[in-house]
């Protein structure tokens, strides 16, 4: 039963979200014109279809316990080829993944304060180390040179205005920009 519930869980989540969004779609505010469908019609239609597909999968997985799924052509071709089997045997590192996601969120949160250059050096170095790469010289060099290179390419060549950060970190970004000749 637990296996069945696990298999059905993604569909249950999507189904609940679809039901909630259908409620939200019912509250879309618009000037109704007689005889014309409103802006809620399209999303509501999609949500109904989404709900139907999810209900089918929930009944199939949870109640009947059927595991057969009709695969898309590409999926079938790959399965028939037998070349995808190896992927299943790879070990899983959930902590590594969790660390990577947290690190990425921290980068996004701090980039506006630290500025692109400092935040990127820290992110690149920590990401490589977290990714079990242990050549510290390469990590240090590629983080610093990578952040510098990206800053130069995007601010000097492609003209993208990357975040400079707030004081005192912005002083570093501004100094670098002066050195690079970016005004």
């Amino acid at each position: 039963m637990l296996n069945r519930l696990l298999r059905a869980s993604p569909y249950i989540v999507v189904q609940l979200a679809a039901m909630y969004l259908y409620q939200v779609a019912g509250r879309i505010d618009f000037p109704a014109a007689p005889g014309r469908i409103g802006p809620d019609f399209w999303p509501k239609s999609i949500l109904v279809l989404l709900g139907l597909v999810c209900v089918y999968e929930i009944i199939k997985n949870l109640l009947i316990g059927e595991t057969f799924t009709a695969a898309g052509l590409l999926e079938k071709l790959m399965k028939d080829s037998g070349e995808v089997e190896g992927e299943e045997k790879l070990p899983s590192y959930p902590l590594l993944l969790g660390g990577g996601i947290v690190l990425t969120i921290i980068y996004v949160v701090t980039i506006s304060s630290l500025g692109f250059f400092l935040a990127t050096i820290a992110y690149l170095a920590l990401f490589m180390a977290l990714g079990r790469y242990r050549n510290w010289t390469v990590i240090a060099a590629s983080s610093v040179l990578g952040a510098l290179g990206l800053m130069f390419i995007f601010m000097k060549v492609v003209y993208v205005s990357l975040p400079l950060g707030v004081e005192p970190f912005s002083a570093v970004s501004l100094w670098l920009l002066r050195v690079m000749g970016v005004h």
Binding site: F30, C54, A70, M78, S161
Partner: protein
């Protein structure tokens, strides 16, 4: 005649030094991303997009299409030499390409690959030049029911031809269509699913969905596997050469070549199919109809020609609906459409009327791209496969950076970084629970087009949706859409019943 003049002018434009440089860079980048197992072709094209923001339209499209074309070829090197398919496209090359290499003929296998990529590429250019203008002219007669039907067919085939189960693909597609409705609706000005959040009121850019789900999501997925590629997989110091097949050998296999080119172009035109399906289908067709079909897998040239020719020629097939109807059928063409829109040009039936010379310049660049790709492939295999030695953790760290800069640069909005992180996590969850990403991305892209053509159709025809079945083109396309969805399910159910019966 006019087409030839435009094509000639197109060559002159592409031969400008800056355009040639961009073409060269695009070809090399396409091959690199195809060689690296951690990077997919679509991801590569996504990561290159921010570099095109400040370019003129022509070099921007040259860069992305060059990557698209050469990306179908580069992965063949590692598949043949090291049994490492850089892309799913290259999986069929393992069966005969790698086997031929193991039999002591790696140079010959590489030669057949080069010949196939060149031939498939040249045929695709020819078909594009000859077919695009008439298709665009025909598409000028379409109105909203035909457009809506074509989009529905496209979405149905994305679901039935792609990876993952059909129901998961349908869920992915509908989530994409829903994401496209976020923000202020263009007809009534009503706010939908914004929840009072300012950046949601502007809508969710499909670029963010693509960069997040394809780029960041893939990095997270590989991170969970501990970045298995540690850069020590291949002995790249071995001697690598390319030996061309003789003219007599080529002529002997002309039917394989023609059949596979045709399959590539047709499969490329069908939305959702793309180079991978083309490569597999052509290999399968060779097994069924080829003179030496039963010998496939034993290291014969047909097993190399069929998938490689079809993969490369599918690019031309995919470009036709993009240019003539503004409908992208694959991840890579969706990004190319994004580049068009970012530069203020909408591809579609009018494109030959308004921007004919530009379109022919794109064709010319693709022709030169095919030639250039083969020259680079001939001379630079060894340094190209050297990238396999790069540690995956280092490459992935920089992939994340390009994702962030690409997302940020589109609107200079830091909120977009949160959006792509969210879609990165969603992309990872999709991979984890075997939901394909492509339908969601195409849903986000085609959603607004589908909704606007649906609303226009309903308004113009008094809310009567049966108009779809009352017009010959839309009715035919709708029937095809239903067949595309129902046929694979019915066939697999029949297969299952037969298996359980025995």
């Amino acid at each position: 005649m006019e087409a030839l003049v435009h094509l000639g002018n197109g060559f002159l434009q592409v031969l400008q030094p800056m355009n040639l440089l961009v073409l060269f860079i695009g070809l090399v980048l396409g091959m690199l991303v195809a060689v690296l197992p951690g990077l997919t072709l679509v991801m590569g094209v996504v990561l290159a997009l921010p570099f095109t923001y400040t370019m003129e339209l022509l070099p921007a499209i040259i860069l992305l299409t060059a990557m698209y074309v050469s990306g179908t070829y580069g992965g063949a090197f590692t598949a043949i030499l090291f049994r490492i398919p850089g892309e799913p496209i290259d999986v069929p090359l393992l069966w005969d390409g790698y086997t031929m290499a193991r039999k002591g003929q790696p140079a010959k296998a590489l030669g057949w690959t080069l010949f196939s990529a060149l031939g498939g590429g040249l045929v695709m250019i020819m078909v594009m030049v000859l077919a695009s203008a008439p298709v665009a002219k025909f598409a000028l007669t379409f109105s909203s029911p035909e457009y809506f039907a074509i989009i529905i067919f496209g979405l149905a085939s994305v679901v039935s031809l792609g990876g993952g189960s059909i129901t998961n693909a349908a869920i992915s597609l509908m989530l994409g269509l829903l994401i496209a409705t976020v923000g202020v609706d263009s007809i009534y000005g009503a706010e939908r699913f914004a929840f009072g959040v300012p950046f949601l009121q502007d809508g969710i850019e499909y670029l963010l969905v693509m960069v997040g789900a394809y780029g960041l999501g893939e990095v997270f997925t590989r991170m969970e596997k501990g970045f298995a590629g540690d850069g020590t997989v291949a002995d790249t110091d071995r001697r690598i050469n390319t030996e061309f097949p003789t003219l007599a050998e080529m002529l002997k296999l002309k039917m394989t070549f023609m059949r596979s080119s045709l399959i590539g172009i047709i499969v490329g035109i069908i939305p959702g199919a793309g180079a991978t399906v083309a490569s597999f289908v052509a290999y399968g067709a060779e097994g069924q109809y080829g003179k030496r079909g039963k010998e496939l897998g034993s290291g014969i040239a047909e097993g190399i020609i069929a998938p490689q020719t079809a993969a490369t020629s599918s690019v031309g097939g995919a470009m036709i609906p993009l240019l003539t109807m503004g409908i992208p059928g694959s991840g890579a063409t969706a990004i190319i459409l994004g580049a068009f829109l970012l530069h203020g040009m909408q591809p579609g039936p009018q494109v030959f009327v308004t921007s004919g010379p530009f379109v022919y310049a794109v064709f010319a660049s693709m022709f030169l791209g095919v030639i250039g790709m083969c020259i680079i492939g001939y001379f630079a295999i060894k340094p190209l496969v050297k990238v396999l030695e790069l540690p995956e953790a280092v490459v992935s760290a920089f992939v994340v950076m390009f994702c962030f800069i690409g997302a940020f640069a589109a609107r200079n909005n830091l909120s977009d970084l949160y959006v792509i992180t969210a879609f990165g996590i969603l992309g990872y969850l999709f991979e984890k629970f075997k939901f394909p990403i492509a339908p969601m991305v195409l849903g986000v892209i085609l959603g607004p087009l589908a909704e606007s053509s649906f609303m226009t159709m309903m308004v113009s025809h008094g809310n009567d949706w049966t108009v779809l079945m009352g017009r010959p083109i839309s009715a035919t396309v709708m029937v095809l859409a239903v067949v595309a969805l129902v046929y694979p399910i019915q066939r697999q159910l029949r297969e299952k019943t037969r298996r359980s019966g025995t």
